[in-house]
């Protein structure tokens, strides 16, 4: 095993970086859009609407594209989902709207709802119009914690209803995982920030950066100072890999490296290992694997302890990984990390199988893969401490998530929550819906 890890920046030419991190799903051309739109049957009781967490009236917006009513199409989307532009790019449509499109049943080829949604919203943003107006001021003040999709969606809903909103964000930038987590080729250029500018332009929303709940502010303080609080902190923590050698240098949570990549001005300056091992089976595992491969890593292997069907990543994501040249190794689990001079150099894996009791067991056989970097993508967790209420009753947390009812109301009066910090799909589109519902609930609780 080489003593020195092979980590290097600038493995590719500028043209290769540009190609590898360009739009993974290029937009429809103005000629293609109406033709694709005309494939939609304009279903009655359309299954796609039901499958969209934000309930966008899909047949309606698609028909408007077909008739050339571009503005109307975009408004149908944005009324239901203020992050319609981001969702068009990042939604796993193969398991949401497009999975149930009747054309999937008919011919295995759904209407391309995601790309049509992107077409409509892109066109609209090009016009630079601000379509939303705020209702008369209510004099109510609401605190939102976390400027990810859930927090911003809620803030936008509340601002439109005439409330004043302050958003507290631990980072120096808004957007949450839209800005720090989503794979770079899904949201290219500065789209995430442009979309935020559009959303915030409605007015009535003040952003307070570098203000973390639990450190700079407390839930008790917010409840005292505001009429209502919306918690949207996502899952700021990561699960640790509990095996020997986990503290070696070069062993990192995938989302840290992804955040670095998303913020890198110049991808050529970002060091990447030659041989990479990723532990996990969800979309984050796919994202880190594909992105490091596209940065020029030679061998990238995802190690997952079960089979392809059990992977959290959708079939589409698995396909993207495979066509990007990533190897997916099933039925293995990490047992030990090897290293030299404090840096990781390899990983020892044990083969697994399902025992007679249906539970996963190790076979005792092992194999070792060389690795310059090992990324863990075994799940994020809620860091509960900051949301623990200093004063009086603590917030009800269940299964590592903040417990809420259908209205996104927590166990504490005046405190609501949504997005990844509550139990749900852990998708951008669900975070947006949670924020939308919470805004309505807060509004009705304050105007009752």
């Amino acid at each position: 095993m080489p003593a020195q890890p092979d980590l290097a920046a600038g493995r590719l030419s500028q043209a290769e970086y540009a190609r590898n991190f360009g739009d993974i799903k290029p937009p429809l051309s103005p000629q293609q859009a109406p033709i694709e739109a005309s494939r939609c049957y304009f279903c009655y009781d359309a299954p796609c609407i039901e499958a969209c967490p934000t309930g966008i009236d899909i047949p309606s917006f698609i028909r408007k594209i077909a008739t050339g009513n571009d503005r109307g199409a975009a408004m149908d989307i944005l009324q239901a989902n203020i992050f319609g532009g981001a969702c068009a790019r990042v939604c796993p449509v193969e398991e949401l709207c497009e999975e149930v499109c009747v054309r999937t049943a008919q011919e295995g080829k759904p209407v391309n709802i995601g790309l049509l949604q992107r077409h409509a919203t892109d066109r609209f943003f090009e016009r630079g119009e601000q379509p939303f107006e705020r209702a008369a001021p209510t004099g109510k003040r609401i605190a939102v914690v976390g400027a990810g999709p859930a927090g911003i969606s809620c803030a936008h809903g509340l601002a439109r209803l005439g409330h004043e909103v302050t958003v507290y964000e631990a980072q120096a930038k808004a957007g949450g995982l839209n800005e720090y987590g989503i794979a770079a080729y899904k949201v290219i250029d500065d789209f995430a920030q442009r979309e935020l500018d559009f959303i915030l332009a409605v007015g009535g929303i003040t952003l307070e950066f570098n203000r973390a709940l639990g450190a700079d502010i407390s839930l008790a303080g917010l409840r005292r100072d505001y009429d209502a609080v919306f918690l949207a902190t996502g899952q700021a923590g990561v699960k640790a890999l509990e095996v020997e050698g986990q503290a070696l240098e070069g062993v990192r949570p995938a989302i840290d490296y992804i955040a670095e990549l998303r913020q890198a001005g110049d991808l050529a300056a970002l060091p990447v290992g030659r041989r990479i091992v990723v532990i996990g089976g969800g979309n984050t595992a796919i994202d880190i694997a594909v992105q490091t491969k596209r940065l020029g890593a030679e061998d990238v292997t995802i190690c997952y302890r079960r089979g392809p069907e059990e992977m959290g990543a959708t079939w589409h994501e698995q396909e993207v990984a495979q066509t990007s040249g990533v190897r997916i190794k099933h039925w293995v689990r990490p047992v030990r990390l090897h290293g030299a001079n404090g840096h990781v150099g390899g990983i020892e894996l044990e083969y697994t199988r399902l025992g007679d009791d249906g539970r996963l067991t190790g076979t005792g056989d092992t194999t070792t893969l060389p690795a310059d970097s090992v990324f863990t993508a075994i799940g994020q967790i809620l860091i509960a401490d900051p949301v623990a209420d200093g004063a009086g009753a603590p917030l009800d947390i269940r299964g590592g998530r903040i417990a809420v009812n259908d209205e996104r109301q927590t166990s504490l009066s005046g405190v609501f929550a949504g997005g990844d910090c509550i139990d749900g799909l852990d998708l951008t589109v669900q975070a947006v819906e949670d924020g939308k519902i919470a805004a309505r609930s807060i509004h009705s609780s304050l105007t009752r």
Partner: protein, 424 residues
């Protein structure tokens, strides 16, 4: 392989596919290409007194991404001198003797003009002439084209002049811009025309440019009505052909079917409805002459499959079933059937029947799953759901065996006329 040879009023061609009189047939160069591609005949672009064309000339209807579903033009007749046209006609006929070559003519409505041009055409040894009484735009303002075709007396008069002054078969091309196609056709018959061809284009405005606020196609900010053709007009043409085929007063006069014919199947329909051959314009202008290969091949394969050896084996076969409404069976009953295994749950059958028809398809949720079911007692058998359903064969219309006899409206007890009699 089926025999596709055709004889229209003595004009023979190796197959029934002719190019209609229009830009595809307006000079030696195109017609030679057409014959090389396999077209059985052409009707030369209408020749007559010199004219000048405008720019632009065409307009089109695009439907759901499908181009040229309907087509329009504001073009006049040939803009080249008569002598040049006829010289080329003569040359091509000599080089392609087995193909039909008919010259379309349009001259002012006086016997002398017709007599003069007929002599010149005869000299080319063309197979026949077609009288363009159809052009609905431009020429009609000068008292020609549809201005003649809309007055049966003129049609008869001009047809008679032509029969008098030429030995060539005379085809009268009819305009659809009239109330009842039988009148001009009967007039052509009285004037001893050998055949009619129909339809010429429909007077129309294809669209309006909402920016300049002028009808299309635009000619320097203004528009005029044009002649509509292409796939969209086929149903109009088919009906008119059928009307003539079953008209006793037109019996014996051959019909050349024109209007929206793009495929062998369209052609087979026209022939079944009584046409002897067909003419094509828009389909060729949309995709070029090569389409004729499939027209020939497809028709012949279909005929082989049906056991038809010659065109006359099925020509006119649908005419006897083309009846008046009053001859339909009032007791015939069908109802919709949904094949649940094919259904993709788009709900269109339900919502369209619910909103616009007879509320005969229920929208159910069974264990959360969508299910659409026909309410047999309510279904009137109108066919709407079958046509809106996007899945082929998913909704079928099944005959109901009600044991009732064939009864036409005149004999139907539900006819108020019969009820009055019964009360007496």
């Amino acid at each position: 392989m089926a025999d596709l040879r055709t004889d229209l009023a003595g004009i023979t061609s190796p197959n029934p596919f002719w190019l209609a009189s229009a830009p595809p047939t307006d000079k030696y160069y195109n017609v030679e290409r057409a014959f090389k591609a396999g077209w059985g005949g052409v009707v030369w672009k209408t020749v007559g007194e010199p004219i000048v064309n405008t720019t632009s000339r065409y307009g089109a209807v695009e439907h759901n991404g499908s181009r040229m579903a309907g087509f329009t033009n504001i073009e006049l007749i040939s803009d080249r001198p008569i002598a040049v046209n006829l010289r080329e006609v003569k040359q091509i006929k000599r080089e392609w003797p087995d193909r039909a070559l008919v010259v379309s003519l349009m001259v002012p409505c006086d016997e002398e003009s017709w007599k003069t041009i007929l002599a010149d055409v005869e000299d080319t040894e063309a197979d026949g002439i077609e009288l363009n009484f159809g052009c609905p735009h431009g020429m009609s303002e000068r008292g020609m084209g549809s201005a003649v075709g809309q007055v049966p007396d003129y049609v008869e008069m001009v047809a008679a002049w032509c029969k008098k002054h030429t030995r060539m078969p005379v085809i009268v091309k009819l305009t659809p811009n009239i109330t009842d196609i039988r009148y001009p056709a009967r007039a052509a018959r009285k004037g001893n025309a050998d055949a009619v061809s129909l339809i010429n284009t429909l007077a129309s405005v294809i669209g309006v440019d909402l920016d300049t606020m002028a009808p299309l196609p635009l000619v320097n900010g203004k528009g005029t009505h044009g002649g509509y053709c292409g796939p969209a007009v086929k149903p109009v043409a088919l009906r008119m052909v059928g009307d003539l085929a079953r008209d006793p007063e037109c019996r014996g006069m051959a019909i050349s079917g024109i209007g929206g014919i793009s495929t062998w199947r369209d052609a087979a329909e026209f022939l079944s409805m009584g046409a002897t051959n067909v003419q094509v314009c828009t389909a060729a202008m949309h995709r070029g002459f090569k389409i004729v290969e499939d027209m020939i091949d497809g028709l012949s394969n279909w005929m082989d499959g049906k056991g038809y050896r010659t065109l006359s084996d099925f020509q006119g076969a649908a005419v006897r079933n083309f009846v008046e409404w009053g001859d339909l069976d009032m007791n015939y009953e069908i109802i919709a059937r949904i094949d649940q295994d094919l259904c993709i749950k788009c709900g269109l059958c339900h919502v369209t029947c619910e909103d616009t028809s007879h509320q005969s398809i229920s929208a159910l949720r069974i264990d959360g799953e969508r299910r659409y079911e026909v309410i047999d007692e309510e279904c009137v058998g109108c066919n709407l759901c079958m046509y809106v359903c996007p899945v082929d064969g998913c909704i079928t219309m099944e005959p109901v065996d009600n044991g009732k006899p064939y009864v036409v409206w005149a004999d139907d007890p539900r006819n108020p006329a019969n009820r009055v009699q019964a009360a007496e």
